[in-house]
C-alpha cells in the first residue's frame, strides 16, 4: 500500500495501517524458492501443454511414471490399432467381435447420435458415420469456442464462446447445421461452461470472471438473469432433474456441493463431502446423487450414492489414493450415469498419464477399471457405448462386454483428436454423446 493510499484512509486508522504495512514487509519470499519456481515455470513453458507439476515434484518418480505411462499407452494404442478396421486395414481380413462392434456403430445400428467434442478452444461433432470430427464453425468465423452443452432432448447444442473476454452462447442443431447467437458479448465476462435446464427453457452459465454470480439465460428470448450469491462457484453448475441447481463451490468457511432453488434464496451447502468440480451426478430419475468422497487418513476414495434427502447411503466402490497427497489428490471427473441408471462411469487421476476410467454398478456389486491413461468418459443414449479420450485419440468401448469378473473388452478407435485453435489442455477437453 503506497502513501497515497494510506492518505485516503481515516486519520485514526493510519498509524495501524502503517504498522500493518511494516509487518507485511517482513513477509519475504525465500530467494531459493523464487529462483526454483522461476526455473520450473520456464521449463514448463518450453513444454507447454503439459506444464511441470508442483514445484516439489520429484524428478525420478516423475520420470518413472512417465516411462510407464508412455509404454502402457504405446501398447494400448498398438492393440487398439490392430483391432480397428479404419486404422489398420489388414485387421479387416480377420474380423473379430470388436470390428463388428465398430461397424455397427458406424452404420448407426447401435449408439446412435453424434458425439460433441470441445478441444483446443474449438467445438466439433462427429460425422454421421462416425469416422471423424468436423468443426461446428465450418467457416472459421467465430472466436474462441470453449465448451458446449446438449439440451436434455438432444435437439439443441449450446456452444460456449468468448470474444475478447465477453461471453457468447451459440445454438445449433444436432448436426451443426444452423448456428446462431443466443447471447452475444455478454457482461457475464469470460464464460467457461454451461448447462441446460431439464425443460430446455434456461441455460445456466459459469463465468470465470464473476464467480459469485449465477447467470441464467432464457432460451425463449427473455435475456440474461443475474443472481448474486454469497458463495463462489468453482465448477460448472448443473440442473438436477427437479429443476434445482447444484454446483461445487465454497464460502469463507467450507467447500462442497451447494444447492440453489430458482426461488429468491441463497445457496446452501448440501454435502461438504463432495470435493471435485465434476465428481458428482444425479441418476437419470433424480432419486440418487453419486459422488466421490476422500478419506485421507485411510488413503481411500469412496464412490457412493445418497438420496438427496440423505435417507440412504450406499458405497459403490473404493479406490486407493496416495497418503499425504495434500492438495495434489487425484480427482474424480465426468461422473455420468447410464440412461437406465444401472451403471456410472467416471475418470480418476491427476493427469492424462495416470487418469483411468472406471465403471461402477449402482447396486454396489463392483467397480471395474475400463481403460488406463484415459479421460472424458461419456455413455451413449442407448447405454451401449462408452466413448473416451486417450493418447490424443477418441475410442469406443462396447459396454455390453463389460463385467466385474472378466477383463474389459478391447476398444475401437473412433478418430484422432482434431487440431484445435489454441493450446490444448486435457482439463478443458469435453466429450459428450447426444442424449
Amino acid at each position: 500500500m503506497n502513501k497515497d493510499m494510506l492518505d485516503q484512509l481515516p486519520a485514526d486508522e493510519q498509524p495501524v495501517a502503517s504498522k500493518l504495512e511494516s509487518v507485511v514487509e517482513d513477509m519475504k519470499v525465500s530467494p531459493g524458492f523464487q529462483w526454483e519456481l522461476e526455473n520450473q515455470l520456464m521449463d514448463a513453458y518450453k513444454t507447454k501443454g503439459q506444464p511441470a507439476k508442483g514445484w516439489q515434484a520429484k524428478l525420478i518418480p516423475a520420470l518413472g511414471w512417465a516411462i510407464l505411462a508412455i509404454s502402457a499407452a504405446f501398447l494400448l494404442n498398438l492393440t487398439i490399432r490392430s483391432l480397428a478396421p479404419d486404422a489398420l486395414p489388414a485387421a479387416a481380413e480377420r474380423p473379430g467381435p470388436e470390428i463388428s462392434f465398430a461397424d455397427n456403430v458406424r452404420q448407426g445400428d447401435i449408439c446412435e447420435g453424434r458425439l460433441a467434442l470441445a478441444h483446443g478452444l474449438n467445438v466439433f461433432l462427429t460425422t454421421e458415420d462416425k469416422t471423424g470430427f468436423v468443426p461446428v464453425d465450418t467457416g472459421n468465423s467465430l472466436d474462441e469456442l470453449r465448451s458446449f452443452a446438449w439440451s436434455a432432448d438432444g435437439e439443441r447444442l449450446a456452444i460456449v464462446g468468448n470474444t475478447t473476454g465477453s461471453g457468447n452462447i451459440y445454438i445449433t442443431d444436432p448436426t451443426g447445421g444452423e448456428t446462431g447467437y443466443l447471447l452475444s458479448a455478454s457482461e457475464a465476462g469470460y464464460l467457461r461452461d454451461a448447462a441446460w435446464s431439464p425443460n430446455g427453457r434456461l441455460i445456466v452459465l459459469w463465468s470465470s470472471q464473476n464467480i459469485s454470480t449465477l447467470y441464467l439465460l432464457s432460451t425463449l428470448g427473455h435475456g440474461l438473469i443475474e443472481k448474486q450469491l454469497d458463495v463462489q462457484i468453482l465448477g460448472t453448475p448443473q440442473f438436477a432433474p427437479d429443476g434445482n441447481i447444484f454446483f461445487y463451490g465454497a464460502d469463507r468457511t467450507a467447500a462442497g456441493l451447494f444447492t440453489l432453488s430458482l426461488e429468491p434464496s441463497q445457496p446452501f451447502l448440501l454435502m461438504p463431502e463432495v470435493e471435485d468440480e465434476s465428481g458428482f451426478a444425479f441418476s437419470p430419475d433424480g432419486s440418487l446423487l453419486a459422488y466421490m468422497e476422500y478419506d485421507r487418513d485411510e488413503g481411500e476414495a469412496h464412490l457412493s450414492t445418497q438420496k438427496p434427502s440423505k435417507g440412504e447411503y450406499r458405497l459403490l466402490g473404493t479406490l486407493p489414493i496416495p497418503r499425504g497427497s495434500g492438495s495434489s489428490l487425484p480427482e474424480a471427473a465426468n461422473l455420468s450415469w447410464s440412461p437406465d441408471g444401472k451403471v456410472l462411469v467416471f475418470s480418476f487421476g491427476r493427469n492424462t498419464a495416470d487418469s483411468a476410467i472406471y465403471l461402477a454398478y449402482s447396486d454396489g456389486t463392483g467397480l471395474v477399471k475400463l481403460a488406463d491413461s484415459a479421460y472424458a468418459p461419456t455413455i451413449s443414449a442407448d447405454g451401449r457405448c462408452l466413448a473416451y479420450i486417450s493418447n490424443k485419440q477418441v475410442f469406443l468401448m462396447d459396454l455390453a462386454g463389460v463385467s466385474s469378473t472378466s477383463p474389459s473388452p478391447a476398444s475401437a478407435l473412433l478418430a484422432d483428436l482434431p487440431a484445435g485453435r489454441g493450446s490444448a489442455n486435457f482439463r478443458l477437453d469435453k466429450l459428450q454423446w447426444r442424449p
Partner: protein
C-alpha cells in the same frame, strides 16, 4: 538462469497487459510477469494459510495455472486481478474438505537471518498475531486487507476482485483496521526497532 537474470531489464516500459500478450509466445515476458507479482501472490497465500510450505505450494500452483491459461487473459481487467482470481481458486481448492485452520505455531519461518534472535522472535510474534487476528474478523474485511496490504492491490483493483466499489473497499479496510487495532493491540504496538 543466467539468461533469465541477464534479461531482467528487457521489459521495463511494458505494462502488465502488454507483457501478458507477449507472454503467449515469449517465455521471458512471462518470467517478467512472474517476478513482478510473485511477492503479491506469495503474501496472499501466506496470509490465508499462515504456513510457508503451503504458501509456496499454492504460489507454485497459481503461477503454473497462470502459465497454462495465459492465452485466456484478455486484458478486460488488470493482470494482477486475473492472477489473484487464480490464486483465490487455488486457495479454495486447498481448503476444500478441511477446516480453514492453520498451524500458525509451526509456520512462519520468515527468513530473517540477519536479525538478532530476540528481534526475529518479536517479528514472528507480530506476524503470527496479525494473521491470527485476520481470521477472527469478518471475511470480506479480512480479504480487503489481504488484497491491499499483503498483495499490494490498489483500492480499485481490490474492488474488481471483490466486486465492490472503490469506496466500499475503503470502508471495508477502515473497519478491518479498527478490528485489527482492537484485537492486535499488543502486536501492533510492540515495535522491534
Amino acid at each position: 538462469m543466467t539468461t533469465l537474470m541477464a534479461t531482467r531489464t528487457q521489459y521495463p516500459s511494458m505494462d502488465d497487459a502488454q507483457l501478458a500478450i507477449e507472454a503467449r509466445a515469449d517465455p521471458e515476458a512471462f518470467a517478467e510477469l512472474y517476478r513482478r507479482h510473485v511477492r503479491s501472490i506469495y503474501r496472499y497465500h501466506l496470509a490465508h494459510t499462515g504456513n510457508v510450505r503451503d504458501a509456496e505450494d499454492l504460489t507454485s500452483q497459481t503461477f503454473m495455472a497462470a502459465l497454462e491459461g495465459i492465452r485466456s487473459f484478455r486484458g478486460a481487467g488488470p493482470y494482477i486481478t486475473w492472477l489473484i482470481g487464480i490464486a483465490s481458486r487455488k486457495r479454495l481448492r486447498f481448503f476444500r474438505g478441511k477446516q480453514p485452520e492453520v498451524p500458525l505455531d509451526a509456520a512462519l519461518h520468515i527468513p530473517a537471518p540477519s536479525l538478532p534472535t530476540e528481534r526475529a522472535a518479536a517479528r514472528r510474534l507480530q506476524i503470527d498475531k496479525v494473521l491470527a487476528a485476520l481470521r477472527t474478523i469478518s471475511a470480506d474485511r479480512a480479504e480487503a486487507l489481504i488484497l491491499c496490504f499483503f498483495s499490494g492491490l490498489s483500492f480499485a483493483e481490490a474492488g474488481l476482485v471483490l466486486r465492490k466499489s472503490e469506496s466500499a473497499v475503503k470502508m471495508l479496510i477502515s473497519r478491518g483496521l479498527q478490528d485489527l487495532r482492537t484485537r492486535t493491540s499488543l502486536a501492533l504496538e510492540v515495535d522491534y526497532e
